[in-house]
């Protein structure tokens, strides 16, 4: 009897050891990874923030400095002595000096941060709006009217997601230009009005989860199909729709490649930053100030909708 107890105790101890070893291996690797990650990311963010406040006046026009990494590693560096304090003037200079020039015919337009900020909002709302309207309409239609066309559309979405067609950007550019959609927001709406994306599958499953009895009850009460959709079904799925819109808004806010190619006359903040990173002669603190201005709205959204955003990234992993 005692021997059995000793044996089972030994087994338990072994199991506990196994558990803790696995846990600790995971923790250590994750910790090392994050240590490197945090030191680069957090240092970069911290330096970007502090860099925008650093300013010294005594050399002619004004020279900008920020705590250089060498000074952190070698604190005896002499340049620390030249710092005169913290200033907010770099942020005002972001507004006056961070500009993007656009040549339209013979005229050159210069857009400052406030313009770029406005273009960012318009571009993100239009594109995310187009994306969500199209995906929602088709997802709702397929989930509600389960006819042969609906099945074909569902299959098309899966096929498009899985089948990779590469290099059609040239053709896309030609079509966009020839339809008169180049360099305007209507063109962006048309370009992004597609439903063949992974979030369509998320919305489809959300609509399929809504009991059909809701629709039938409303129909018996004499409601039209449009009223049923707007007043009964969409409000039930508003959480999913809202989250997808939010995720897409963030994606389009950060997107620089589409505006660079298709909307060069309306530079968004991301567009401006992407251009300025490799060609601008602006000083570091001004660039960093612009970076933070671009990041603040998104960070605010992230803080408010943290749970929804993280929870719905799985949509990309919907099984098909």
């Amino acid at each position: 009897m005692k021997n059995q107890e000793v044996l089972s105790n030994n087994k338990n101890n072994k199991r506990k050891k196994q558990i803790s070893v696995f846990k600790w291996i995971l923790f250590s690797v994750l910790f090392i990874y994050l240590a490197v990650y945090i030191s680069v990311i957090v240092y970069t963010l911290f330096m970007s923030l502090t860099g925008t406040f650093a300013y010294r006046e005594f050399i002619g026009k004004g020279e900008f400095i920020y705590p250089r990494p060498s000074l952190l590693i070698d604190p005896n560096g002499t340049e620390f002595a030249n710092r005169t304090g913290w200033f907010f003037c770099n942020y005002t200079r972001v507004f006056s000096e961070f500009k993007q020039s656009v040549v339209m015919g013979d005229t050159t337009y210069s857009y400052d941060v406030s313009w770029m900020f406005s273009f960012s909002i318009i571009y993100s709302v239009i594109c995310a709006g187009a994306y969500i309207i199209s995906s929602t309409l088709v997802a709702y239609a397929c989930a509600t009217f389960r006819n042969a066309i609906a099945k074909v559309l569902e299959t098309i979405v899966v096929m498009v997601i899985v089948f990779p067609i590469i290099g059609s950007t040239a053709s896309e550019m030609q079509v966009i230009r020839e339809l008169g959609f180049y360099n305007n927001f209507l063109g962006m709406f048309v370009l992004k009005f597609g439903f063949t994306n992974t979030y369509f599958l998320l919305l489809l499953s959300s609509f399929k989860l809504i009991p059909q009895s809701f629709r039938e009850a409303a129909k018996i009460d004499g409601a039209s199909e449009l009223r049923i959709m707007l007043d009964v079904m969409l409000p039930v799925a508003k959480n999913s729709i809202g989250t997808v819109f939010l995720i897409q808004f963030i994606a389009f806010w950060n997107d620089y490649s589409t505006p660079v190619l298709y909307l060069p006359a309306f530079p968004t903040l991301s567009f401006g930053l992407a251009q300025f990173s490799f060609k601008s002669q602006l000083e570091g603190p001004i660039k960093m100030g612009a970076c933070l201005l671009c990041a603040v709205p998104i960070m605010t959204l992230f803080v408010i909708f943290n749970k929804k955003l993280i929870g719905n990234v799985s949509a990309g992993g919907v099984k098909f």
Partner: protein, 314 residues
């Protein structure tokens, strides 16, 4: 009898339209967009591969000239060869991290120490603009690593890693791995949270350790998500630009820093003035790499369907 049948048929078609009229209204515009921006664009891209363009003469037929040119460029020009190889190297470098991500996801899923902190930090780069992060990295992170390498390890870097002509490309891929790693982890974690709790509880009652639980219960259940992730990764082997544009722009990149995705982006950017002369060449490259990628995607999906226990049970 035939008349009655025809009448019935007519009625049923009419009835179908009456019943599904609203459905057709809802899908009409999105389907039209799909027909133009996907079907027509891709057909046009295919046809474009057999055409030529000059500013003076406009569009003409080129037969297989574009294909010959691509193969000639692949043999003689460094840029295209590098772009092709770099796309494959980037894929090979990023793939192991998708696998490692599964382990970290399990850590977060099991809510081990500091899981919330790890999750939020991993997610942070997903919401910030690549332009912002690249700019910050270029101005500070890059310098920080250079100074650290020089001061602590005595490695000469020349003051920049990302723009270094020799290994700048690899630095950018490592940077992209760091930035995209969180997406994989969070996707797997969310997939793990869909696993039936009773299954996990039953395994615990049977005395399964975390190690056993991970390999025998969790991993088989999320294999479908991994297959989706891998499929998308393979499908985008030649699409990825890896945020090269904010660092190099469309003119200053060296030949050995291009990927196919970045090369196509650069050429389209240059052709913004309406000069389509390089478009047929780009369409041909696209067609050829699609021919390489498509079988790989279908083979992967086929293999995973065989491997996936959920699929095999069905």
């Amino acid at each position: 009898m035939i008349l009655i049948d025809q009448k019935y048929k007519k009625k049923s078609i009419k009835g179908w339209f009456k019943e599904n009229g609203f459905f057709l209204c809802l899908v009409a515009l999105p389907v039209l967009q799909f027909l133009i921006m996907y079907v027509y664009v891709n057909l046009n891209s295919f046809v474009m591969a057999f055409r030529s363009y000059s500013v003076d003469e406009g569009w003409g037929w080129a037969g297989f000239d574009n294909f010959n040119e691509v193969f000639r460029q692949f043999e003689s020009a460094n840029l295209f060869k590098h772009a092709f190889n770099n796309s494959l190297i980037a894929f090979a470098m990023m793939l192991p991290f998708d696998l490692v991500g599964v382990f970290f996801s399990y850590y977060i899923f099991k809510k081990f120490a500091a899981w919330k902190l790890f999750r939020n930090i991993l997610f942070l780069p997903q919401i910030l603009s690549a332009g912002v992060l690249i700019l910050m990295f270029d101005n500070f992170g890059d310098t920080f690593i250079c100074v650290a390498l020089e001061n602590w390890f005595g490695i000469e870097t020349g003051g920049t890693l990302a723009k270094n002509s020799e290994y700048g490309f690899y630095v950018m891929i490592i940077y992209n791995i760091f930035m995209s790693f969180g997406t994989a982890v969070i996707m797997y974690t969310n997939a793990m949270s869909n696993i039936d709790e009773s299954v996990l509880e039953a395994s615990k009652l049977d005395g399964a350790s975390d190690f056993v639980e991970f390999f025998k219960i969790v991993l088989p259940q999320i294999i479908s998500v991994f297959s989706v992730f891998l499929t998308i990764r393979i499908a985008s082997i030649f699409v990825g630009q890896y945020n090269m544009y904010p660092i190099y722009g469309s003119t200053i990149a060296k030949d050995n820093q291009y990927t196919i995705g970045f090369y196509i982006f650069k050429e389209i950017k240059i052709a913004q003035n309406g000069n389509y002369s390089k478009f047929p060449y780009i369409a041909t490259i696209g067609f050829l790499v699609t021919c390489i990628t498509a079988p790989m995607v279908f083979l992967t999906r086929y293999l995973f369907k065989k491997l996936d226990p959920m699929e095999s049970n069905n």
